[in-house]
């Protein structure tokens, strides 16, 4: 991205304000109309179609996975429902070669990186602790211990600097995770070393039952600025705004501008997980308020009123149905390692205790196979 293009964009942000009156960047209003910024920056219709497709497929996959959980095919599922724009808009603005360290809800981003639905479900069917090889997708395995991945991303970025590479290392985390020492150590570490890290927070307003107001006094992007990270605040349900901001932040980082932090305001439409009941802690009103800001709806309106015809939607509908079917089939065909195989996962080099127990376990299995 050219200096001039960048400053063109920069003069537009922030242009809107969020519920707390915090200035943030928006291009496509909830009603599907372009904001002044959206108009003057302009939108590439192919891009919009592509982003919309990504979001529709991601939502359909997520819905299918949840129903698989309801039917007992998955032991647990953490829904990305509602956060499609934040994830798709950001990951699509990065280069495929930029390494990503996700948390555990980044299914939409993972799909964009070519992670297969089956591999995304493997972990939640209880068959493995991860589903794919990060090298294949430049997308690290999920981290369930909150915030830990932000330090891994920071260290990974140190390597990029040592090699003089111009890659950006991105890491996703939530509003709750931001209270962890690790995330703040990562903010500070990346800032102090001016490392090429892009911290992306999906502020979905909740950490299980705990609202963001319990977690922090100031908006996270304000805190990040205090550390010396370049701060961005964006409507996380506006895929165009997220895509533009992420592109902007990434190009700044690539040109040696130092680390940045993007706070994307979004909402977790579902419960924290398939076992959570959000009614225990949040109101219908709030849900409705955010439904009116649905990340897909506004793009559909925009597309219908402008660039595309019904055939596009019909085709996409079909594609989504196929994805749902293949997801369901793939899920049921998933298999995991045996305990015997798992003994081989722990150490790279020979380990007497592991060997002994592997043998003992084999003997015991043979034994109970027979009569004890």
């Amino acid at each position: 991205m050219s200096e001039t293009h960048r400053s063109n964009l920069e003069k537009w942000l922030p242009n809107e304000t969020d519920r707390e009156g915090q200035p943030m960047f928006q291009m496509l209003a909830p009603d599907g109309s372009l904001t002044t910024a959206g108009k003057s920056i302009g939108v590439d219709s192919d891009l919009v179609r592509g982003l919309y497709r990504d979001m529709v497929l991601a939502r359909r996959f997520d819905r299918e996975a949840l129903s698989l959980q309801r039917q007992g095919e998955l032991s647990l599922w953490l829904m990305s429902w509602g956060q499609e724009a934040a994830q798709v808009g950001s990951i699509r603005a990065l280069r495929d070669s930029d390494m990503v360290f996700p948390s555990y809800r980044e299914h939409a981003a993972a799909l964009c990186r070519g992670v297969r639905p089956a591999d995304l479900m493997r972990q939640w069917r209880g068959l493995a602790h991860s589903g794919w090889n990060p090298a294949d997708h430049r997308f690290h395995i999920y981290s369930l211990v909150l915030g830990t991945q932000t330090l891994h991303a920071t260290g990974y970025a140190t390597g990029a600097v040592l090699e003089g590479s111009d890659e950006v290392v991105a890491t996703y985390f939530g509003d709750g995770a931001a209270s962890q020492g690790d995330v703040n150590e990562a903010f500070n570490w990346a800032a102090a070393g001016r490392l090429p890290v892009l911290f992306f927070c999906q502020n979905n307003q909740w950490a299980i039952s705990t609202p963001t107001s319990t977690q922090m006094q100031t908006p996270l992007h304000v805190r990040a600025a205090g550390f010396g990270l370049e701060p961005y605040h964006v409507d996380g349900n506006d895929v165009l705004a997220v895509h533009t901001i992420t592109g902007l932040a990434a190009s700044r980082i690539r040109d040696g501008g130092g680390p940045a932090m993007i706070e994307a305001q979004t909402y977790r439409f579902g419960g924290h997980s398939s076992s959570d009941d959000p009614k225990r802690y949040r109101s219908e009103e709030e849900f409705d308020l955010w439904t009116a800001r649905d990340p897909l709806a506004r793009v559909e309106v925009f597309l219908r009123t402008s660039v595309v015809d019904d055939s596009f939607f019909a085709g996409l509908e079909l594609e989504a149905d196929e994805l749902a079917v293949s997801t369901r089939e793939a899920c049921k065909q998933l298999t995991g390692q045996t305990l015997a195989e798992i003994f081989g996962n722990v150490y790279a080099e020979p380990h007497p205790l592991i060997e002994r127990e592997r043998t003992a376990n084999a003997a015991f299995t043979a034994l109970v196979g027979g009569d004890l």
Partner: protein, 327 residues
Amino acid sequence: MTTFTLGSAITEGLRKAMEADDRVIVMGEDVGALGGVFRVTDGLQKDFGDSRVVDTPLAESGIIGTAIGLALRGYRPVCEIQFDGFVYPAFDQIVSQLAKIRSRSAGSLSVPLVIRIPVGGGIGAVEHHSESNEAYFAHTAGLRVVSCSNPNDAFHMIQQAVLSDDPVVFYEPKRRYWDRGEVSPVADRQLHQAAILKEGSDCVLVAHGPTVATALAASVAAEEDGYSVGVVDLRSISPLDTETLRAVAARSGRMVVVHEASTFMGIGAEIAAEITESCFFELEAPVLRVGAYNLPYPPASVEDAFLPDVDRVLHAVERSLSFSEER
């Protein structure tokens, strides 16, 4: 006598403790409106208000560190760690601060603080949600580590833990939260005492928390094979009730320790070393250990093969019995 699930017995125990002393404060992630992910604090915020049942920011070191500050001021915080695998960010505050403040101050400061940890596997959970980490805290001087296995103990032990002027790590066996049992109005023993659940002349099984039920089942099965196998519920992991352990070991001459944690450096090792030293001439066989294999907790699909079950316990009992035959 009324019956409770193990989980609700803890809820009731906490309620009693909070009624008895308004310096008792429950704090942790999602313990308020949600009542905790296992609903153990369900209803407490409604009854005691949000200044005594506090939803904290999402930071375990912060939870324990600020609770220490409260305890230094005279409060008696009860902190919930949401899952066993998430206690590690607080490790420094627990082992370097909480455990040591009393000795660092030559006994002038006490930190009455309880850390509740839902522990163990067997619930088909994802990674970090099924760990058994009692050995770390048991090896830490200054802490008390206890583990409840049934509703009655859960109800009384949580109250005893809150009453203790020492810091207590209180383990709650996840997969037994829904077990029902009778709860007696008065505690039948002190917090650091083990319970002999069943005498056995051939061998005695020692377990705690989630594996007590496994041991009892194994003991029944062994009886059918004509063996008298006793069961001891440790209840307290640190300190150990070595007196009781010695007595049963001396009587039966054979002991098998069963726990969910990996055997290597687990509590079974300490019991084996301790009992072998004190009952060397009474033992007919070495104290054997049945625990998880020495791997990080595996995916749920294989956890049944990973965790000690009745078969593995019986296998160990047979091995124990086979020793004297050889002799």
